[in-house]
Amino acid sequence: MNHENPTVEWLGLTFNLSNVLMLFITCLVVFLIAFVSTRRMQLKPTGMQNFMEWIMDFVKGIIKNNMDWKTGGRFHVLGITLLMFVFVANVLGLPFAITWDHKLWWKSPTADPTITLTLAAMVVILTHYYGIKLLGLKEYGSGYLKPMPFLFPLKIIEEFANTLTLGLRLYGNIYAGEVLIGLIASLGAGSIFGFAGALVPALAWQGFSLFIGAIQAFIFVMLSMVYMAHKVNTDH
């Protein structure tokens, strides 16, 4: 698993081309799913439209659990995009990993902490943005003094802790899954006995990883909305 990353420098910035590629593929897959399933829409939904509507209702349910729909409606698209993006990113690394010239090209983009923490930071920064936008600076600031003013330092730490846990939880789960799949795969590639022995664990672990990928996507969206609700709800 000690593969190098295909990095390049461009305009003084470091790009991991593998990440760029996988992010692009993730976006492409998500967009194609969403695009294909919303063609020829009917009042009486069929097939893919049902699936897409189910996703929308699912995210709507998550948001409604945390805040009223009047404030939460604006995060609907964000939630849907996060859910589909994270899920697709999680499962992309499942079927195989491609290394080329000792560089790992095909993997789950969410198996990279940079990406998961970027998403987590984006969500947390958005919660601050909407907290200020919807409640005003004063109300937003007083949120740090609730329920007790002396908890203020903890509140500050909490914001960073939220970011870290949100990002690292996703990264840890997916990365661990990829490592284990890699190990099982290398066992299977070793010999004919190894292949026989690795077949069942590989199938089991891939199924489990699919499950984990879905659960982690759900948790990511759920927690994003919980953090968002903490910032935009006055009665919390």
Binding site: A34, T114, I115, T118
Partner: protein, 184 residues
């Protein structure tokens, strides 16, 4: 890997080459790519999937609301029509009963009338018959009397043997017969 960066980030915060050293350890490019890809994806989803789907879901919600409303309305309407029909039926039943009652009363009245009319007609006819009989009887008596006068005269003339003028003695004879009639 990342946590190292994080610790170093705190240590190197004052360094002028901070961004460069950060870039050495952290793929700033990846962050930018992630953010921009995610944003673009979100905008595309909003434009191509969320918008239309939300539209059709709203449309469906509206349709369902309309359907429910119209169902409610037609239910109320049918209820009202049912009530009306029931009232009409009751009215018709009452009417029918009244008509039958009327007819019976009228029939009874007519029967009484007819019976009365028949009775009076019979009485009238009886009276007429009685009168006719009486007049016939009178006529018969008169005819018999006339015949009797003629016969008496004929007999008297035969007895007397001579022709007596009917005109002269008629008055006398009639008087006699009248007397005889009274004596009878």
């Amino acid at each position: 890997m990342f946590l190292d960066t994080f610790v170093l980030l705190a240590a190197d915060a004052a360094d002028p080459g901070f961004l460069a050293s950060l870039n050495d350890r952290l793929n700033l490019g990846d962050i930018i790519v992630t953010l921009s890809f995610f944003t673009i994806l979100m905008l595309l989803l909003k434009k191509f999937a969320w918008g239309p789907l939300m539209g059709i879901m709203d449309q469906r919600a509206e349709l369902i609301a309309n359907e429910i409303e119209s169902a409610e309305k037609s239910r109320a309407e049918s209820q009202q029509i049912l009530e009306e029909q029931r009232n009409l039926l009751n009215e018709a039943r009452n009417n029918a009963q009244a008509i039958v009652e009327n007819a019976r009363k009228q029939g009874e009245a007519q029967r009484g009338e007819i019976i009365t009319a028949a009775r009076s007609e019979v009485g009238r006819m009886k009276e007429e018959a009685t009168l006719e009989i009486a007049s016939e009887k009178d006529k018969a008596v008169a005819a018999v009397r006339e015949e009797f006068v003629s016969l008496s005269i004929l007999a008297a003339s035969k007895v007397l043997g001579k022709e007596i003028s009917e005109e002269d003695n008629r008055a006398l004879i009639e008087e006699t017969i009248e007397k005889a009639g009274e004596g009878r």
